[in-house]
Symmetry: D2
Subunit: 346 residues, 4 copies
């Protein structure tokens, strides 16, 4: 940490900085410059609260040199985290993982049909919401526990792994019992009680980037989960708030190589929420794989015209099949491969 | 709702729109134009899911005419909502309300000192966090229940109302027992289980705008609370994410007149989080009142240099006193007044 | 255009809207709804100024149904615009075009070396600035006319087409004399005198998206060029302003399929400015092609460590060679190909 | 400038940084830390191009300590710049200046009426465009030279100073001949040839903040003007691009105290473009003065319903009169005053 002084700071101001740093238990190192003096804080263990220093007289700014997160960083752990599900899917390794399915579980028929279609198209993980966070209190809120039970049936029949969302701490255990991966949605990226509970769930966690979260904030949210003892976190870029109304969000694909440089955690992309428009999902899904995503999460519905939620951004099943073909070739171009389809259970 | 077709949409495409609208239980009204046809949906009760329509062939866009929220809107209720606390403070009326205090409850001495200072300076509500949502899991997380009990002591001694944050649904009841107003923070604006529980708490709720929430999303979050039967919601503009690094956020003061036009709910401003820099708090607090805010929420600490959190944005007590003088004159300029200071309890 | 009234608008207010629309020379069509009345404006020729209507009493909002641009739209011209340069490169057809080279022309040796490297790696267009727009007045501003002359020499030797920037209207003619494509930079996207002059230059124009320009604004800027009689405009996505400091901008790749749906003009991507960081250029260049870009513009420098500008985002030549191999495979995956390398002049 | 190394950077990497800094003519000062080494660059004269350093192996980031601008900074010049017009108006001193008038000069009758109304209401500077930058090429583009001549007539009759926009370098001289202040619009904030020419015009320049410009970029744009010898620059906050569609932009009033801390130049606010909606102009104008703005620029039209441009955001003359009353009181609350009205010429 570097405390930069105003150009006309008095010696006394600099002394006060030095004393405060020492009082906080760190070493202070003054660095006189041509235009201004700076004071380095040496020994930062990631817990320094810069507020006390920013508040002192004639401080121009406090510059953070050390990253604020620890266990999620590549400096903490060099090799990539690879998460293996019970159906053999490995997330974070050389393979690109496909998670697909409808926005919500709507009925037994709908979810079983969808699960079979997704498995046949090559996905190894089924996505579908049982509890839905909806912007309006009057919109369809999901089937709840019944939805979770239907997902278990879909897994039994198809062998697909299950990823589904938990909305509050008290819901984590029941989701953990039924699903292979607990999803934490973008609106809850900084819901700390929920993160902590997911960190004690014993299940891998899919953590979506908040609507206007910086990458450092995303990594710090993941740090909450790791700090509770759960190392299996999958990050997900799903679009950030933008100013153009042609799409729902801006899918920030550069976050993928940025995260890969900073952290050992896998990161996937969700082009369905990232764009909000069916016709943009396929190009952006391809782009995500080309940018190095460790997987895709895509909304596909057996009959999008009748979907109870997110119909406008759900692919038709044949579109998803075409997409899988394309991303196989793209993965190959960068020395990766797409996870092999599951065998049909005997 | 208006469904706008592509200019080369076939009659068949238009018919499909009409049929779908009718199947959804509404009336369809085709509007042929020079360049393209549109189809109006008449009878929208606020529950229409436009996804089904956006997904149909040759639809260019779906335009929402009806607002998505109901009970929070000024069309639902013409006169302003006024919330009265037990100490007589009225929020949403002609008076501008002052909420002030430290970021966190740190100790009995700190909070009692602060409460007296704030009361003497003219605030009628004490703000301070007992449970703190922190971006890093390694930062100070608040005193918890002990903090709530200290806030009750501060109220007993000073007569100030108490506003403090609840972070999760299970925490709502205990906060409601101790505080006059339950705060829901920006990170939790779309934490729907929390909103619902607060809607059943029987206490006024202070709802902060999310970091990148649109005003419609803020109003829809409030709608969750009202839809559970709690009409006493105070909105709070506290800055949205911006791209300039000189301040922590952009304080979007235009939200104040925008909300006043759309909704009957009161809206206050938090210039401390809105700017994140002490030197910008006073000008922006003044500006908020000039823009029509129904109140201010300001961080003031007896000794900001030693604060455990947010020291850099906390005012010194004499700065707050000066600010109160200035906003009295400004309130007067627009035909309002600042809430009168509480009498010192005998 | 649809004028939506407040729910309590009087008949008189609606009549005033109708009269104003008719006074403006269009037809008015009232559409009574359950909650409010709307009035459609029929016959919009794209020149309606909605300001007059927004200003009238009890108007809630004015909704634009017709697109504000004309000649650039796909409804005006169905088939894609293909621009052919004198060296045979075709932009906007099935082939993906590669434009590469240093940020600035720095010396004869540097630009000739770079041109040969780029030609050998497979680019068919050389990019390099002779006039440089720099954020600071004290930074290197380019070699000017000398730079243009060196670019001509590079073309003579290598056969590469030349794209280089014009900064002001008076500079357009001299750039048009020396270059194959006139570049208009992001900072000048709404420099209308410059756009108009480029529209009369007789040369193809590469128009970069402004730092916070919506796609509609980008298309309207292109409309300025087409409205002067020049149909040969190439759009370029180069990143929009974001809030994360890990990258210079957010490269908004979704703009590519959005533009392809709205307009017949080709659109390329510039991942160098889009990310500002060398290590992110290759993944984002691949992603752009996967998303459907008609070409790439990439900064490559013979010796980035010594570059006079943009060294940190310039690729090393071997990196560019590797990138070209990768994008060939990706282009193939979506049924396109990369422009064939130029033959070495005998 | 501080070059921060990766935690596993080799001694050789650090040596290369030191050598490069010395090769660039500055002094290098290594600062070993607990987790990583940093190297300070001492002697930075504001011309260091950090790109060369960012590009070197194992550099994590380059941190700028010295501000990139010089003559505009408060460190260069302590006391505030005050600009005096020939009618006595002083901008940047204790007085708050009022610039008001229609968006465009439309006719002699319109501009003379408006000028009289603005003078009578207390403005001392008339704003009106003769050359209009319009997003669409088909919109009204202004009266041109005729408009300038009408503005001169308005000044002769009323004594008001004139501020009007120049769109391109060749237009600067003619605007300088007719106007008291040359306006450079938001779209042209980084039109460097225009800035340079304005820097040689001999007239004060009103420089509007670009739509997504950081404050540092705004100050660097002003530096272009000062570096040509013109010290008389007035900055203008006019809203930055946001994500909420209820207003045209987000008026970033915090920019006012931020600029005042960094620079000696005056800064005013334009709430008309900042909000784009008439009903929000008055509250935000008041807020700007409360935040410390050195002046206001407000669109007022004798008959907004008939305005050829920006009718929806133009105040009615009586609204402006009311606004002037309010801002007089607010200015008083913070120890300032509003410029006294001009005497009516005999």
């Amino acid at each position: 940490m570097l405390v930069v002084m105003n150009h006309d700071a008095a010696d006394e101001d600099v002394r006060r900085i030095i004393e405060t740093i020492e009082e906080m238990g760190y070493e202070a190192r003054p660095i006189p410059g041509k235009q201004r003096t700076a004071v380095g804080l040496v020994g930062n263990d990631g817990k320094v609260d810069s507020g006390r220093l920013e508040a002192l007289p004639n401080v121009q700014q406090v510059i953070h040199v050390t990253q604020p997160y620890k266990q999620v960083s590549r400096e903490w752990r060099e090799e990539a985290t690879v998460i293996t599900l019970s159906n053999g899917t490995r997330i974070g390794g050389p393979e690109v993982v496909l998670m697909a399915g409808p926005c919500s579980v709507e009925s037994e028929d709908q979810i079983m049909t969808s699960a079979r279609q997704m498995r046949d198209a090559g996905a190894t993980i089924l996505r579908a919401g049982a509890f839905k966070p909806r912007t309006s209190p009057y919109a369809f809120q999901g089937l709840g526990i019944t939805g979770l039970e239907l997902l278990v049936r879909a897994r039994e029949e198809t062998g697909l792994g299950i990823v589904t969302e938990a909305l509050e701490p008290d819901m984590v255990d029941v989701v953990a019992e039924h699903a292979d991966i607990i999803q934490i949605g973008a609106r809850n990226m900084q819901n700390y009680p929920l993160l902590r509970r997911a960190g004690r769930s014993g299940r891998p966690v899919l953590l979506k980037r908040g609507l206007a979260a910086t990458i450092d904030e995303l990594l710090l949210a993941a740090e909450y989960i790791l700090s509770e003892g759960n190392p299996d976190v999958i990050l997900c870029e799903r679009g950030v708030r933008g100013f153009d109304t042609h799409t729902r969000n801006i899918l920030d694909l550069t976050a993928i190589p940025v995260v890969h440089a900073l952290s050992h955690l896998p990161i996937i992309a969700d082009p369905s929420h990232g764009t909000g428009v069916r016709a943009k999902v396929m190009p952006m899904a391809r782009a995500a794989v080309a940018a190095g995503a460790d997987g895709l999460m895509v909304e596909v519905h057996p009959n999008p015209d009748k979907a109870l939620s997110d119909g406008a951004q759900s692919l038709y099943p044949p579109q998803f099949e075409e997409l899988v073909e394309q991303v196989r070739i793209i993965a190959d171009a960068i020395g990766r491969s797409v996870t092999r389809p599951l065998a049909v259970p005997a």
